[in-house]
Assembly symmetry: C2
Homo-oligomer: 236 residues x 2
């Protein structure tokens, strides 16, 4: 019935915005829980729920008896989950893509297992060169279950972000990405594209995207330019 956003979510957005705008600055104290109670006319438990989440996500940290402070450390994990397009835009580059292949394929056993589908189901295979300011940064190969995303092939993924399409037309949002990263020597056609040479050093990243129901929505197998792209990760 009520389409209102929960109060604690509103407080989270409010604080995030104030951090982004530099009104709450790195290392500085933010208003006390009581002050937020007054400002939002709500209970302290509700304010704490909001702050708890921001602390958990690394935006804020608390010191008992003193207050709550803005973290010194930029939070970048959530960036990654939004994909290449968003990530590059954030860094100030103009992202673009060139589709190498986009087709329906029979599912290989590995892919079926990763996507938790039957080997008899088909998958979409989307292979793209990802570019930043027209410089090739990565080759991204994505597998998506056909059954879950029927008609996906009508969209052009040179113009559209895959995540945007999944979100807008299939109401699917990525919650988690589980990735494995290692280094490889890139050869053949991929080396030609990324390095304009026969060989180059790259990073291989394989992983699964998981939606809000904890079911896998895509399996990706990508190769990143070894020196043009830097993974930025916060471990806890």
């Amino acid at each position: 019935m009520t389409d209102t956003i929960p109060i604690y979510q509103q407080i989270i957005s409010y604080i995030k915005e104030y951090i982004d705008n530099g009104i709450y600055q790195k290392g500085n104290i933010i208003p006390s829980e009581q002050e937020f109670c007054n400002q939002f006319n709500t209970s302290r438990m509700t304010v704490r729920k909001a702050i708890d989440e921001l602390v958990n996500d690394g935006y804020l940290y608390r010191i008992q008896g003193r207050g709550t402070f803005v973290s010194h450390w930029v939070y970048r994990k959530s960036l990654e989950v939004l994909g290449f397009t968003y990530h590059m835009t954030q860094l100030g580059y103009k992202p673009s893509s060139k589709v190498l292949t986009f087709e329906t394929k029979r599912t290989e056993p590995l892919i079926a297992e990763k996507l938790k589908i039957l080997p008899t189901e088909n998958v979409y295979f989307l292979s793209r060169v990802r570019m930043a300011d027209l410089e090739p940064i990565a080759i991204e190969n994505v597998y998506l279950p056909e059954k879950r995303f029927p008609g996906l092939d009508v969209y052009s993924f040179e113009e559209n972000s895959l995540y945007d399409v999944l979100k807008t037309y299939y109401k699917t949002e990525v919650l988690l990405k589980q990735e494995k990263i290692n280094a490889i020597m890139v050869e053949g056609i991929y080396a030609k594209i990324l390095f304009e040479k026969d060989k180059g050093v790259g990073m291989r990243m394989t992983g699964v995207d998981i939606d809000t129901n904890m079911s896998p929505i895509a399996y990706a197998n990508s190769i990143y330019h070894g020196t043009k792209y830097i993974f930025d990760v916060i471990f806890r």
Copy 2:
């Protein structure tokens, strides 16, 4: 006064243990919040606080109206923060180290900035080959502020884990690691050690360790074997 562990912490430990022991299995439902209330004779808010944290950390996920379930996805982030020794032990390998260099040095500007110390202060420089079952996996170069860890040079870091020493003798624990990862071509002495060849593909990882007060305690600049070591990361 009371040295008792908070109830919600007890519940967290309890659930984690049950997951580790396979009593709560991947994808399966765990008891309802109400059942935990009865079992621990506590209020629902307290139980929720415990489960909230486990959900946030990726151990559990909730579906409104149905229940709370054990995540399919192994949680590995926290592993990394415990360092190479712990990580390799978890994976079933026997970790060991060979110290290449351990000395006091004048601080370079980059290091000073990363550690947020003055360029006039000295740092310890510890360079080690990290091995798993006696196979070289990585070269790890760590810089630590001398002022904060006086007398660190009396310890041998072939036998001891750096993190263990910091924890035991300096009461310092790592809360976060902020890392950058890219791929490089390894040459020279490092290639000899890691690959027994003149060249090899590796990953360069640079990053800062941050303690519970959000101050930096170490800066590391390491090179990992490109194919023997795989980074396993969960993005949110």
